[in-house]
């Protein structure tokens, strides 16, 4: 958010250290890999990193919305698998055109997500439980559609639509950027977005202010399902085939992208740009470790550690203003006098 049109003379520059920290961490990781392996910072390889981050970025952006409402969506991996299978099946065996295949997939994804939302709002299930259940249901459906067999020979036009290059730029990357811009506008520049953030901050407050929180939540899970579907379709295009379990690896990494990017699992906070950088960091780690010939087992260890470090740094940065011994980590959000930002304004009154 920019700070324009503020008429106070000494214009205060707001730097969000949390976001900045993520960018700095990403830069460090890129530089380190670049130093260790001269192939890492080549244009071709960076493009590979970006491409490999796309699916996580797409699913992670949806997850960011969900996490901002204070929820979680464990069904995204299954949704991606299910949508991939359904769309591929429709295109290959029933001759659906690629564009319709894509749109059908997105609709299925939205419905799968919205169903999560219905379970959470009307059946009042906790998001973790509701999506844990549908994770299994959607995965099962993905097997049922084709009896567990993969769908090969996805139409070439579909592959071109999601997995080709425009003037050297991968289409998937363009899609991610477009989605991210739309998501940012939706979150930061619409009534809906403000209601999402308020619902995550205090659902009761939003409800008593007249926000229809059920509708907000159903839509948010619908968005998550839709973006999971898009991610799943990108995966299908990338390997020209749909597999019943193709989406499952993306559940944890999508959550990780959002969390590395600063999304707060207790709700009310999260950033689209942060999630993109989170996905990029994970992509760079995978790619860089492969270049360094590190066994793939270690990659999981490193990824896990990066998530832990990111969250620890995030917690630390929230604690910095009161780094004084015993008080650290104590719940003290509500005491206004402790908050550094208040100061300037308060002291002017004296």
């Amino acid at each position: 958010m920019s700070n324009q049109a503020v008429d106070r003379p000494p214009r205060k520059v707001h730097i969000n250290f949390q976001t900045l920290g993520i960018f700095a961490a990403a830069a460090v990781i890129f530089v380190v890999f670049g130093v260790l392996n001269s192939n890492f910072l080549t244009l071709n390889n960076l493009r590979d990193v970006a491409v490999s981050a796309c699916v996580n970025a797409l699913i992670g952006v949806g997850m960011t919305f969900v996490i901002i409402t204070g929820g979680i969506d464990l069904s995204v991996g299954s949704t991606a698998s299910l949508v991939g299978i359904v769309s591929a099946d429709l295109m290959v065996k029933h001759g659906l055109s690629p564009i319709l295949g894509l749109l059908t997939g997105l609709v299925v994804g939205f419905l799968a997500g919205a169903f999560n939302g219905l379970l959470i709002t009307f059946a009042k299930l906790p998001p973790f439980i509701a999506t844990l259940g549908t994770m299994s249901v959607y995965q099962g459906l993905a097997y049922v559609v084709t009896n567990g067999t993969p769908v090969y020979n996805v139409p070439q036009n579909f592959v071109l639509m999601l997995n080709s290059y425009i003037g050297g730029v991968p289409i998937a990357v363009v899609i991610v950027l477009v989605v991210a811009v739309l998501a940012w506008v939706l979150l930061r520049r619409t009534v809906f977005g403000q209601n999402v953030i308020a619902t995550g901050g205090s659902e009761e407050t939003a409800w008593l202010s007249g926000v229809r929180v059920n509708r907000v939540k159903i839509l948010v899970y619908g968005i998550s399902g839709t973006l999971a579907a898009l991610g799943g379709l990108v995966v299908v295009a990338r390997i020209s085939a749909a597999q019943s379990e193709a989406g499952s690896p993306y559940l944890l990494t999508a959550i990780a992208s959002a969390v590395i990017g600063g999304a707060n699992l207790s709700g009310g906070e999260g950033r689209i740009a942060g999630t993109l950088v989170g996905a990029l960091i994970l992509g760079a780690l995978t790619n860089g470790l492969v270049l360094l010939n590190v066994a793939s087992f270690y990659e999981q260890i490193v990824t896990g550690l990066v998530v832990l470090i990111a969250v620890a740094i995030d917690q630390g940065s929230k604690g910095w203003p009161m780094l004084n011994g015993a008080r650290r980590g104590r719940k003290k959000k509500d005491t206004p006098a402790d908050d550094a930002t208040l100061v300037g304004a308060q002291t002017t009154g004296e």
Binding site: Q194, I197, E204, S209, V211, G325, K333, A337, L342
Partner: protein, 500 residues
Amino acid sequence: MSDILLEFKNIAKYFPGVRALEDVSFTLRKGEVITLAGENGAGKSTLLGILGGSLAPNRGTITVEGVVRSEYSPRTALAEGIRIARQEPAIVPQLTVEQNLLLGKTAAERREAAPAVDGALADVAAMGFPLNRRTKLARLSPAQRHALTIARAFAYRPKIVALDEPTTSMLEHNVAAVLNRVREMAAERGVGIIYVSHRMPEVMTVSDHVVVLRDGRVAYETPIAETSTEEIVRRMVGRELLGFHRQHPVKPDAPIVFTATGITRPGSDERVDIAVRAGEVVGIAGLVGSGRTEFLRAIVRADPGCGGTITIGGETAHVHNPNGSRNAGIAFIPEDRKHQGLALQMPAYANIALTAAPDLVGPGPFISINRQVAVSSELATSLALKPANVKLRARQYSGGNQQKVVIAKWLRRDSRVFLFDEPTKGVDVGGKAEIYGLIDQLAAQGNAVVVVSSDLPEIISLSDRALVMRNGHFISEHVGDDINEHSLVASAMGIAKEAS
């Protein structure tokens, strides 16, 4: 002198950019009750934090029974015999009353703690809350939890006890019992007590000595016998504060603009009616748990299963949820502003925009941050919001200013009915006067105003008409001189006449 229990000497505490305390010195003697007074943000909580060891001062020392404290940690403070009963009770809701009283004790200590537990339970009962030791805390009311927190502070032979707003959620007779207990502990066992409260009558009754903090410094310190309520309040706010009187009482011929008829809620057979005239402020008094909050929530349909008919300006309003209530022109300012009135992590302007006033949203589904900030800033100016910068997050404001933000949410919506639940709970004296002025203005504009409050002086100074609720229905109506403490309390407790 040997009877000095506690000495604060030149205590200073800074948070980045904030001077929370500067050069605070005073002493507490055995058997003495000192009231620590001051507006929100004056530094009381910080000082208690230092006393309790959870904060270390940047300068200055604490001396307990002649020994200078060398290390600041909650453990040290406990070892020194210091107990603090906080404003927001430090309890575990999933545990029982007894388990909470034993919290932090080792198995060996627990065996010896039986008398202390019995004593604490007796204390709680004496305060008017007979509790079963096996009841889980989650099932207790806020007042009961407060009582338990106080009793726990006294349970293990403390030397020094600090009570932070212990009576906020309590009613007169409970308060009297709490004050008795405080005096008793001081007089009989020589406990030194630091008492923090905004309620002046309590301060005058309970304390020997008063220390007023203002902007982190000791602004006033005197034996209670040598001062007056007015003087203490004046020192707290640094200016004269007159008793509040409504500038715009309701006009005798004002028409009824708001009715709620046959309001019901699940689990109760009561059907409750209320009618409010244009420009009228109706106060609703009653004991905690009498159903006042539930009544307001049922009007705006905050909970499922509520029923009843609502008319505004003579027309039936179709209210099925808070969204419908908002669109019908009803503003609801709930009791718990931090969890029901605000999204604390959002900036003030975004909180104000939550009610989707036409000025603050659009075009279409979009918002303009600049316009939200501009409109909110206008509201901030008219409400004298401090700090006036509406880009600050809601949690960065003090209680009274947070309440202004909650009220501001409803001012651009053509709301014609204002329902306030405990509008000044935890708000300091200066903030109270401002909020009263605002309520008076809202009435003067021809709105219907309902104020639920446990603070009787608040009901008395604000109301054109006062209703007393008991067991879920109104049992009496008071106007004119009949709106007085005695009459309201008698009615609320079911002692006197059962009128209307």
